[in-house]
Symmetry: T
């Protein structure tokens, strides 16, 4: 799972139900699918000199597994934990192992939604948080990481 | 106070104590002063086709006055309410009058700080929130607004 | 996974530990196994002109996957989320995608049990809730759905 | 007030403002009046071999009186306590005297409404609860009681 | 109970213990009795072109009955729910049926009294609230209703 | 309702469901009926030189009416508010009018029961409270009042 | 700032953002501007034999200054603290110095709005509160003060 | 410490600061000293056929010691835990060892005092509670115990 | 999965992220890997006459599956639920099925960590809890179970 | 604003409404005016070898401005934040910039007043707090600072 | 225990663990022992014309005893209740008996420590509170008392 | 109180009511007395190369005294604070002075008992906690300490 090129690697993790992006209610969430988001992140990454890998799962355990597998392989991580934002201590604990900068992102403004969505189990261990900007928020998150990640010299 | 050029205008408001940016504890907050931040926003704005105005005050009332004066003059607003984030209903009410997209920004990750800083009186009326990215967060906020603000044709 | 006949389809989802039904403590929960419950639902469905599919898992992610797969395939859904009732925002989010009537059911009266079982993450997005009626509650839930689901004409 | 026939008796109690059912806002609550609900319960009861008596009052004390008068006369009780659901300890205490199975019913889904409607003073002493099914919920409640009430032999 | 004249009708409801007004502790509550208050409201109503009916009860159920009976008969309602302010969901539900402007009034300033008097079950469904003005508050409430009630043409 | 003899009068008020005393579950509450309790209070009163009147109702409003009617007629009052203990501000307000010593009594130890029974709306306006002593508590309450009520000289 | 005539003086204070009244969203708040409100209060005052002065500021400190300057100059005060209602202890403390009757007014019904608007820092030190009546509430407040303010004899 | 006579023994425990009874503020607490209270309890006990021992301490540990020493020596216990009422789990635990009826007594009405005095660590393990009756409460407590304690036959 | 030998069987379950033990931050958690812990438990078990099986997963559902599979196969269970300690009702429900003694163990002292780690969903259904002793806690837990588990005679 | 002499400088800040000291209710707060307090502090400072500057404002923003202007000019700061004690995060943030010992003072005992006055936003960043000693508290605060401030050698 | 000289007497009470002052962690708490503190208070007292007695105990009961013994013997009291600050109602009750000015002192700033140390059971009955000034706080407390205690004339 | 031999010393402290161990309710707590527990700990200690001293008191102050006397004398401490677990800040403060590893032990599972027993004032300053294992828990605690205490060389 290690990025193959000599570019600094960024892992992007999408939480539960994000695989439905662009397939349901395009009038609300837009017509962009998760595949298109991921492709866009890859291109944006290249322009920033970053190698981008992506992962989506509806299973908390699978996300924990993926984060553990990322140990030592990436310079930064972007996570949209979706529903797990508010409840998953296991993802928090896995992220704590990584010791790399993490950007938490939410498509919607979580403060406009139900009170149980106002609390994040991730926020205080992340570098920062971006919310409410829709899929453009992923681009901002990548820029934010590019701003703190040092280029690696693998030659 | 209306932007003079035909570019869409963005107002950037800095709350209390942000005038000290770069003058105290550069090892923590960096050596960039607020003037430099504002200059950078102006340049970034130009590259995005946006006219950027800035304002800072330690006085809640002065910020309310400035927001009211912005009525009908701008296409978007960026606010770092600093200490007023957590207490100012007056600023919230003034922002509600504007009916333009608002991006809330915090230099530090407010979820790593005292519990009274976790609650924002602005978050649920903003388009979105960016926190923890330092002064680079202003750049991201400007990009986010550029992404939603339509170019104006003043000819 | 689409129901094959021209009858309106109902999906029944059983949450964690319900696979043990009838196998443990029959003096408390009765001797009816989950297979027998499912068979009974199939028969009752036929008498009501409904096609019934069932699913059980101890994995939150598998339940989310199954709900997503149900998109566009069913006219109604019955869910006994068991332990996930009180904690799973991911299941809530998946159910929100379906836009079909949902009946939440609990075998026991959750208000006679520990306080953490009094709160449901599903209740406010369901059509209604039935609790405390034992396995007979499934029959009631199916009748309730039959009462609101319109017959489909697939001819 | 004792049921005259040799059938097991079921008492149905309707709380405050339910006398207005079908008379106001038929587009919301339907056009069925309480008299029609009661008539339907009588017929459904007969088909299930149950004698059904009904009672409505806007007075908490009158409901307590009626429950006390039911002592030893019925095999089951259905109650839609309406506004008294959330506040009446007196009705709870009266119901506790009866020692017969009780089904609590709400026309609307109380978890979609104001927070003060989420708490029931009756739920933990009832056999079970049915909510959100409209007037059809009464039919389900009667079936649920029929399922647990043993036929009486008064010959 | 319908007002006999062609004037817009206003119903005034006094809650529990208000029948003792002027009979106990005149040094505190003044020497004006409830009869005198009602007479004054009648006169004030006439000067405003309003027909005023009044009702007092110590029985929550009787107040609910009276509100139901008012359906379609009045253009506005003034209520001093007294002790029921803080607990009666039944009165709230009855008032919700009316669909006419309601003014809530309290003789004393409820925010100077015990904390359990600070919460009103009526306030958020009323047009507005007047408290602390003594019996003069009834006059103000009538003026407030006159300001929003359209004259009726019964000719 | 005024006591006819020249002895100081004590009014004893029994709240909802206390009319069932001794008729249900004698193994728990004992076999003494409310009539026997009242008769015993009359005799005990005579031995203490007190005239005792009693009243029971399941209707909060009727209890408020009875308390208002007691104005100026009694030297003391004993109240077992039962279920109304925890919710009735109307009874509290009526009792506040009396300006005579009040003893609150509970047959059971309310602190051994559900949390919602731990809070009394009467306790802080009573002289004192006696709980957990069963029907003997009435006798103690009468003694307590006899200890503070001055003999009246009606000659 | 002392009223020049021999009439009892009333000071009316408008809190933050009220200077925008009538200038924004007339379909919601009406087309009446604050100047028109103030003019109307002057006229109404004259008809009641009261001298009315008015003041508006978006600055909490300026409102505190104005209240202090009112010491000994007015017989009553009307305040619509707007956003400061819920947070300003400084205004509360200044008002406490005045020792004159104060009427708190809100244009909207604050109990229909966000929970943080339900708490007033002023309510328990005011004579009373009027909310939800729109700009007509100012007229009612003036009448309420006229009812308690004694005419002054400055001759 | 075992009672010497063949009468059922009652231990009376007075908590901290009760040794000052009658010595300070007689206008509030009366002029009766603790010695006089104890003497009165002894006499009252004799008239009821009970042997009464008393104990006072300002030391929680000493009270625990005394309760432990009472094991097997008494048929009932009266305790006025005073300040320890609200905090001492150690006294609660010691009382739990005794397995005899316990009456908790407070001279003042604890519900009229500071909120921290409303919670008792003893109430739910006592037979019952008497509060607000002053020193006469001890007499009532003794009567209450006499009512439940069976005479012992030590012959 | 049944232990093959005639020794009483103990199942040891390790929750999420414990597979990383000894692989990350050995200076904090020590250099012992989970494999070594498991090996050590096997040896310790033998010395105590116990057969030890172990299981680790990052998936809540997999842990529920494993517990269900343990039904009737073990005399005791040790569980370090890690992040699931604080949130998993599903694991609680599965453990409740087993009816064997359970020891809950935490490597770190959970009371020194974030408040959300202070609450355990398992603690009140376990025999007991051991925390803060590092990997040595597993040895203590095994001894504790050995102390209560009766030797089995499978001959 | 820098102290002109070679003495260590102390800045004393008085919050809102303290300018009224001695001018209102001298029977409560004493007849000492703020000018007299400041003069006394100057004299006391001289006797302690300290240069004392003072500042009062009703404007939170002005106090923030003044604290910022004090950067690098003083060895210690005394602040009586008055009403801002409980709400001003902006003042807290400004004080945090100073990095000099701060003594918080309150004339009255804030724990005897309304609950909202019990919480200080300043207390945990101050050296210490003095409350309840009236204007003499300023003298004590100055002594406390003199005890920790080192003499400066500006020669 | 009465002070022997004709000077006004001040009693200083030190709570639990303060006997270890200066003996442990001198780098934190300083090297001053409690004996030295007491000696310093004696000298400072003399210079202020006050007779100072001191007392320390780790036993709550002993402190209550000592306070009771102080009745009528002192003109003022200084107490550092240490750990008992937050829990001892018994000490509060004893202090309430004294009717002399009390100054509460804490060596450390209790608002910088664990939340359970922020609440004082003494603060609202004391004249005032001094915290965070180390042992110098005792000197300030003595000065504060000297400022309010009138010289006694015992000649 | 220093251990006489050259072995590392362990102090074991038993809180209130533990002196009754084995003397009351042996069917619940077992027949082992505290003396037998202490003897067993001595023997176990010897086998582990540890010198064990024990102490029990019902007096919080005596326990504080004993802990202070332990300063510099022991390598580890085991404490079963019993009722003081939940309330004693004084014991916490004394333990904080010791700077040696502390193991907190509870015979019963405190999470199965009343909610006020779920909070420990000691847990976050201890090395770890063992609960629910009965008197065997002392043995485990001693082993846990042996695992961290280094042998001392007193030769």
């Amino acid at each position: 799972m290690k990025p193959k090129m000599n570019l600094p690697g960024i892992l992007v993790i999408h939480g539960p139900n994000l695989n439905m992006l662009g397939k349901r209610e395009p009038e609300i969430y837009g017509a962009t699918t998760l595949d298109e988001v991921n492709a866009g992140l890859g291109e944006k990454g290249q322009s920033l000199g970053l190698q981008v890998d992506t992962f989506q799962s509806n299973h908390e355990g699978a996300i924990v597994d993926r984060i553990q597998a990322a140990l030592g392989c990436y310079q930064g991580l972007i996570i949209n934990p979706a529903a797990f934002t508010h409840t998953s201590i296991a993802i928090r604990d896995a992220l704590l192992l990584l010791k790399i900068p993490i950007v938490e992102i939410h498509l919607s403004n979580i403060y406009k939604r139900e009170p149980f969505r106002h609390k994040s189990m991730i926020a205080d261990i992340a570098l920062g948080q971006i919310s409410g900007m829709g899929v453009f928020g992923y681009t901002l998150a990548l820029e934010a990481l590019a701003n703190v990640v040092k280029p690696v010299d693998n030659a």
